[in-house]
């Protein structure tokens, strides 16, 4: 099957193999290079391994049948994740350009894919760094004992605890009130929260410091940001295993429930998790691998990165669940002891008659008499079930800022664990941000919007403009805006971009040419497995995921959860539908990048047809970046 779209003058736009050999020998210094292979691998690992590995994967694992979730996860890792990863590495290394340069080389009509990647990088970078600002806030607040989220503050006349805190919990109160100062709905903006603005400024400043010269600076920083999380996770694992109840957590996490495999949403979630976990489609990976030497073995790199990413997810899930097991056991013990105390007091029994072990039978004995059961009913004993506490399924910010912080307060030397935890989260997120910023900055450089400005200035402009727009997330309703961005800016456009990438390389660039390129670069042609994946299976998987997502979103009324102290079910979060004007914003977020792909193609077509003037071929003056741009006078 030789299905290839006609692509004339492709050879003119891309460096030939001879050009590449020449570029290898002559070091012009025009294009950046990696300091060492380690820096490259650490940067890619850092980019792929992010907050999602820590707070999304464990939740998915636990809610989709524990150990059984590994099966769809690993299958989709092999059939969807690794082929896409290999493709991005190979095409970047071959065409030696960022995502915009790559796609405009493959075909000018496909430049839209690069633009879409840049836009998505920009949006995702904005809200992702806000999460880092929250992490920074918690980190800064960890340098005190007792931790501020361990107890409720007193109200104004010092007679009682603050009502909002008393009805929910100190950690909830600290998160929703003292950190976010959240309003009750997305329509109420609530004004800028000054402490959040400061933390946001701090987060963007740290990011600017690290990205100031592109991979020159990030290449050094990743030695710390990519390795520190593993160190901290190991420390937490050792600490966690010594706590009571940790093994319960691990057992709960990994107990397989094979029935979940029959549930299609398990496979959908596994596919989505693999896809988003690898940060595919944002253009960062293409960019990173374009700085590699031409004969770098990208096949090996793709497999190594995939294995490390998968392993990290499982490792992080184990660590998280030792701590969750500890917390659940503590809650269970507290609940039971409360009940025991109530029983002892009500029946005036000697201490020690009712213990945790004989609680059930004692309760039954006391319940058997008429007067006893009346008293017991009046007591309002709460049911204590360990499983309920364990499956207090939390993911995302809830896991990090509510569940985990609560668990930390119960550990001895809490400030130390808190500092370690939030440093780890910050490193995880920061290394992912490097890829996002790279995706935007390199695209701007490829477009030659500001050709003479140095990289420091462009990075500065990107960071500053992102910071200013991200101030929206420091409003009272910022949390809701962030959830909006998270759900729609990164999800659907990335799936479309990934699909177009695979179709573009396999059918527009030509799979035959691609095979020859890989043979030139690493010495052997990709085997039948890769061929099957790139041509058919991986695009199909991505298409299926996209269709199901799209249909789901379009067919349901979109809702969001809010924190409303005056609602009936407080502290349970209230579900509200989005107001109508938010739909426009959702369309912009998801639609703008997606429509950039056909939109730019259309623009090029119109340009060609309507302006039939002489097409001047501009060649750039650098040896290493042979991106030809067509200009009409």
């Amino acid at each position: 099957m030789r299905l290839v779209f006609p692509n004339p003058r492709l050879e003119d736009r891309i460096p030939s193999h001879e050009d590449l050999e020449l570029m290898e020998k002559v070091e012009t210094g025009d294009r950046l290079k990696w300091g060492s292979k380690t820096q490259y691998l650490l940067t890619c690992v850092g980019f792929c391994v992010g907050l999602g590995n820590v707070w999304r994967f464990p939740y998915l694992c636990q809610s989709h049948g524990g150990g059984a979730f590994m099966i769809p996860f690993i299958i989709l890792l092999v059939f969807e994740g690794v082929p896409l990863l290999y493709l991005e590495f190979a095409i970047g290394q071959r065409l030696r350009s960022g995502s915009v340069g790559v796609w405009s080389s493959i075909h000018p009509y496909m430049t839209g894919v690069g633009i879409a990647s840049m836009t998505v990088s920009f949006f995702v970078g904005m809200y992702y760094n806000t999460i880092l600002a929250w992490v920074m806030w918690y980190f800064l607040n960890s340098f005190q004992s007792p931790l501020p989220w361990s107890q409720c503050p007193l109200n104004d006349n010092l007679t009682d605890l603050v009502s909002e805190c008393k009805r929910s919990s100190p950690v909830d109160y600290f998160w929703y009130r003292e950190t976010l100062n959240t309003s009750t709905s997305i329509e109420e903006s609530g004004g800028l929260q000054w402490w959040m603005v400061l933390c946001l400024a701090a987060a963007w400043s740290v990011l600017y410091l690290c990205c100031i010269r592109g991979i020159e600076t990030t290449g050094k920083v990743v030695y710390i940001t990519s390795t520190l999380p593993y160190v901290v996770l190991t420390i937490f694992l050792i600490r966690g295993l010594t706590l009571k109840g940790s093994v319960e957590g691990i057992k709960f996490l990994f107990t397989p429930d094979l029935n979940e495999l029959l549930n299609p949403s398990t496979w959908l979630d596994a596919g989505a998790q693999v896809f988003y976990s690898f940060s595919l489609g944002v253009g960062g990976l293409i960019s990173f691998s374009s700085y590699n030497p031409v004969h770098n073995n990208c096949e090996q790199d793709a497999i190594i990165i995939a294995i490390i990413n998968g392993f990290t997810s499982i490792f992080a899930a184990t660590v998280i669940y030792t701590i969750i097991g500890f917390r659940a056991t503590k809650q269970f013990d507290d609940c039971l002891n409360e009940n025991i105390l109530m029983l002892l007091n009500a029946f005036d029994l000697v201490e020690g008659t009712v213990t945790e072990i004989n609680y059930d039978e004692m309760l039954q004995n006391l319940n058997s008499t008429i007067s006893g059961s009346e008293v017991i009913q009046g007591l309002d004993l709460s049911t204590c079930n360990l499983r309920t506490f364990l499956s207090d399924g939390v993911e995302g910010t809830g896991l990090a800022f509510i569940v985990f912080t609560e668990a930390i307060t119960k550990m001895p030397i809490s400030p130390l664990w808190s500092v370690l935890f939030f440093v780890m989260l910050f490193c995880l997120g920061l290394s992912t941000m490097f890829g996002a910023i790279e995706g935007v900055v390199v695209a701007i450089q490829d477009f030659k919007i500001f050709p003479t400005w140095p990289k420091e200035v462009i990075s500065g402009i990107v960071c500053l403009s992102s910071f200013l727009i991200a101030l929206i997330f420091s409003l009272g309703s910022g949390n809701y805006w962030l959830a909006l961005f998270d759900s729609y800016a990164g999800s659907i456009p990335l799936l479309i971009i990934a699909f177009c990438e695979m179709v573009g390389v396999a059918y527009v660039y030509g799979i035959e040419r691609f095979n020859k390129d890989i043979e030139f670069m690493i010495g052997h042609k990709p085997n039948i497995f890769w061929q099957a994946m790139w041509r058919v299976i991986s695009p199909l998987i991505v298409l299926v995921i996209f269709l199901i997502y799209f249909v789901n979103e379009v067919s349901s009324t979109l809702t969001y959860i809010t924190w409303n102290p005056s609602s009936e079910n407080f502290p349970v979060l209230e579900i509200l539908p989005y107001p109508n004007w938010v739909y426009i914003i959702i369309l912009l977020l998801a639609g703008l990048p997606s429509l950039a792909i056909p939109g730019f193609a259309l623009y090029k077509v119109l340009q060609k047809c309507c302006c039939k003037k002489t097409i001047k071929k501009l060649e750039l003056n650098t040896v290493s970046a042979n991106v030809n741009m067509y200009d009409t006078k």
Binding site: L140, F143, L154, V206, D348
Partner: protein, 177 residues
């Protein structure tokens, strides 16, 4: 009413509740009444205990030292107890949770509020370090660009030598440039 939960508080080091402990309790209560009430000379005999159970809970009343049949007002007793709560607790090596008075909630400690919130201090440290780093890197960038311009000429000659040598093997791509 008073509730003691000795075992849950002390575990292995729990003491056995007996008459002597009860005597200590009555003495501490008398102390509380003396110090925080009207200053009269309350004595152990003025604290009357009844309805003692093995749970270690009991009722008590306080009689006036002047007239044994006159009971001291409940509110005054409660106030005295509330003010001397920590002394009574520590006499029995217990806390507010394990030594309960029914009807007297534990007093809440006013939190210690430092003048500058500690997070601002940490913030200052972080921003100071980051700012210094950015300035250092920008300055070194400017310096580097300056050096490249002045020292560039000799480098170009060397580079063109290299290209010249290469032209023996790869003619076309070079000449195209």
């Amino acid at each position: 009413k008073y509730l003691f939960s000795i075992n849950s508080a002390l575990g292995d080091q729990a003491y056995v509740w007996n008459e002597n402990e009860m005597f200590l309790f009555r003495a501490t209560l008398a102390f509380a009444m003396r110090t925080y009430s009207d200053g009269q000379e309350y004595d152990v005999a003025n604290v009357v205990v009844c309805d003692e159970t093995p749970r270690v809970s009991f009722w008590f009343v306080v009689t006036s030292p002047l007239d044994a049949s006159l009971l001291v007002d409940k509110r005054r007793v409660e106030e005295a107890v509330r003010k001397s709560r920590s002394r009574i607790n520590s006499a029995f090596l217990l806390t507010d949770d394990t030594l309960e008075f029914i009807g007297i909630p534990p007093t809440l400690e006013a939190p210690v509020a430092p003048d500058t919130p500690p997070w601002l201090i940490a913030f200052g440290v972080v921003m100071g370090g980051v700012g210094a780093g950015i300035v250092v890197l920008l300055v070194s960038s400017v310096k580097r660009d300056g050096e490249e311009e002045t020292g560039g000429k000799t480098e170009n000659e060397a580079a063109s030598d290299a290209i010249y040598n290469m032209s023996f093997s790869d003619d076309e791509p070079v000449t195209q440039m």
